[in-house]
Amino acid sequence: MTIAARKDRSQERQKQMIAEHFQRLGRARESGEKCVYTFVPGNLTELLRAFDLLPVLPEINALQSGMRGKSREYIGLAEKLGHSEDVCTYVKCDIGMLKSGNIGPTGERLPDPDLLLLSYTGCFTFLKWFELLRQEYRAPTVMLHVPYQADGQITPSQREYVVAQLKHKVIPALERVSGKKFDIDKLREQLRRSAQAEDDLVWVLQSARHRPSPIDAYFGGVYYIGPIFSAFRGTQEALEYYRELREEVAERIALGLGPVTPDGPLEREKFRVVVEGPPNWTSFREFWKMFADEGAVVVASTYTKVGGTYDLGFRHDPDRPLESLADYCLGCYTNLNLPTRVDVLCQYMDEYSADGLLVHSVKSCNSFSAGQLAMLNEVERRTGKPVGFLESDLVDPRYFSAANIKNRLESYFQMVAQKRAAAPRTEASAP
């Protein structure tokens, strides 16, 4: 089978998984299936699936709206309704979508939530987001408050607190909404599959250590994390998807191929960079192309860790089901303190032999952005490698200035090239 056909297979599979999920959501009212709205960081997909509940992720809907060119209209509508121009555009995009009929990315109307599962990990805005949705839907809400890893580690007290909420708040709420008793073995089974898929995802992400890197770990990476960050972690489909993806990437490595970009395969890898921060979704392809035009490959990114830091070693564990769900929630990237985030970036720079760091700072997201300039300086100080700073937004196209970003990227890569030219020959001629 040709590599192109193999590539299509994993992409096709993912597309099909998503389409089927949204169709199922579209039919949920007739089929009687119950839906739970929740967030990507700290999602409890295995637990929901153990109750046969269907997850709906408003963040994914918002980013899809951004990619489909709908977000401008949705944000405009929310602002007209009194939502401030200063706040997270995911929230406004979601509210605007709701007020426009709640049509999901595949054209189906999304069902109203039977439960809002407010898993409050890594970002305070989540709290407000579901308070806002609760007023719109009048749905019951259950909160899972996940403390912050302020000292760079999970303490027994934090774990105990999260597990207690899972046992005494979240699981009873899921039992009520599903009408089913909690079956821990069903949960274990899901977690077992999660861990296997996580192994494969990590393998794929770490394949970027190769030269040339067979993947782009940011622009391509957002596709790879799709199933595991959204509704599919713990499912058989996710397991198969990641196995297939791994095989495809292995083949690319064997053939010495670089990543596929919007303009086709990248012929020559000129720059290897680490990126901190989420992408822009409204001009996603254009943004990606700016990198590809420079021959730049993102070899590691932090955004692909917002839904779990598997490459740092975490795995869901069927032998410690609730504790491992707690550790998962506590360990999501934006729940790590700034010094740990700096350590992760420095580790990536080294592990992936990166030429430098680029921070893409989005206006919407204080969770990511507040402190990024200090992080940038610290990484530069520790690694001595060139750093660059770009600004735009997630789904508000008004804040994506293509000319400005392109200019900054060009100057950045010029600087990297100059620095490289000035470096001692040993470095340049290293294998």
Binding site: V87, T125, K128, K169
Partner: protein, 393 residues
């Protein structure tokens, strides 16, 4: 005579408020030898700090008096002003007198500021104080108790004395007494707002962020006595309003004065809530640490930073409007303040449902021009007065 007494007290409070290098804290340390621990908005366990011989010092950013030179290099333009002025203060040495800083769990900006502190000042205590959003005593309560114990232990490691039950009980009593005074002033302002201009009340509360609690008590007592005796303060035809949204980054003093001069009696507000965070006195019976935990769980003010398990957002604001017999609401929020601005549509909905007029504007702590806000607040106050005149028989 009383007018000048009032003026003297308010000037003292303003001096403390503008003492950005924290000279009063330095003096306290020289005299008492304890640790001085800074805390960011909104709430910190001051009772516990005091019981361990520490001076809690509220840091509300640098306000209007700090020129930002280095702070802007730390923050993008779309982040509120408070963290950049706070880091400016720290880099300029103003906070050197503090032995540690508490960063309460209220928003991503303060949360991440705790990380900047750790990166920039690795030798200093930078304590992110995580308070629960689950208010079940067995779950969130147990977590908060452990947080307090861990925090207490961290203080001991820095040289504070260990926490003792009696000392904590006495400290709860001291802060109960202080809150009672602050609440009495709030009540007096609700009843006779011409006697307690908000800008004065505000400065007195700011003074309470740096002064030891007993000293603050004396200041409040003196102020209360002086304004009661001051016959020159007479009612004016002003609109009674509740101001909300200013719980963290504080507006410049000039803005508060502008609102009052524009025809508003601010009869309730959410400035500097730490001094009023518990609505009732904390119990002094039984285990004082449990009492502190229970006060937090059951008796805290409603805040955009706190999850509402029951009911609708904004209901407490509607109640506050009713309790203070306010005729309108001013949503007065710092630019880019996520908790306040995300909360606002819900609060507006509740306020509109109650039929109360409202208006909204934003500020930064270092704003120097209030012309637009003066006009907006003036028009708002006039419309309220016209409306109430039209309704009166």
């Amino acid at each position: 005579m009383s007018a000048s007494r009032v003026q003297g007290i308010v000037e003292r409070a303003e001096d403390l408020c503008r003492d950005l290098r924290l000279e009063s804290v330095r003096r306290w340390k020289e005299q008492n030898g304890g640790l001085a621990i800074g805390f960011m908005p909104i709430w910190a366990p001051r009772e516990l700090l005091r019981a361990q011989g520490c001076l809690p010092v509220g840091i509300m950013g640098g306000g209007e008096d700090v020129e930002i030179i280095k702070g802007d290099a730390f923050y993008q333009s779309y982040i509120c002003h408070l963290p950049r002025s706070t880091i400016e203060l720290a880099l300029g040495g103003s906070l050197d007198v503090l032995d540690g800083m508490i960063f309460p769990a209220i928003c991503d900006v303060i949360r991440n500021l705790s990380g900047i502190w750790k990166l920039r000042f690795p030798e200093r205590l930078a304590y992110y104080f995580d308070s629960p959003q689950d208010f079940d005593p067995q779950i969130g309560g147990a977590f908060l108790r452990r947080e307090l114990e861990e925090f207490s232990h961290a203080l001991v490691q820095r040289g504070a004395r260990p926490l003792e039950t009696e000392a904590l009980r006495e400290s709860l009593a001291a802060y109960n007494a202080n809150r009672a005074r602050v609440q009495a002033l709030y009540q007096l302002r609700r009843d006779e707002p011409w006697k307690v201009p908000t800008w004065e009340l505000y400065l007195l509360q700011r003074a309470g962020l740096v002064a030891p609690v007993e000293e603050h008590d004396r200041m409040l007592d003196e102020y209360l006595a002086a304004i009661r005796a001051d016959e020159s303060r007479r009612p004016l035809d002003q609109a009674r309003v509740v101001l909300t949204g200013s719980f963290c980054e504080q507006p410049p003093l000039g803005l508060i004065k502008t609102l009052e001069r524009a025809g508003c009696y601010i009869v309730d507000d959410d400035f500097i809530q730490v001094g009023r965070w518990f609505k009732n006195p904390a119990s002094l019976d039984g285990d004082p640490l449990d009492n502190l935990v229970n006060a937090f769980l059951r008796d805290s003010l409603e805040s955009p930073t706190r999850y509402e398990e029951q009911g609708n957002k904004g209901e407490e604001l509607v109640r506050r409007v009713a309790d203070s017999r306010a005729e309108g609401v001013l949503f007065c929020t710092p630019s880019f303040c996520d908790p306040a601005l995300l909360d606002q549509p819900m609060a507006v909905r509740a306020i509109e449902a109650s039929g109360t007029p409202w208006t909204a504007f934003k500020y930064a702590e270092n704003n120097g021009q209030f012309q637009v806000i003066r006009e907006q607040a003036g028009t708002f106050a006039d419309s309220i007065k016209l409306f109430s005149e039209a309704l009166s028989p």
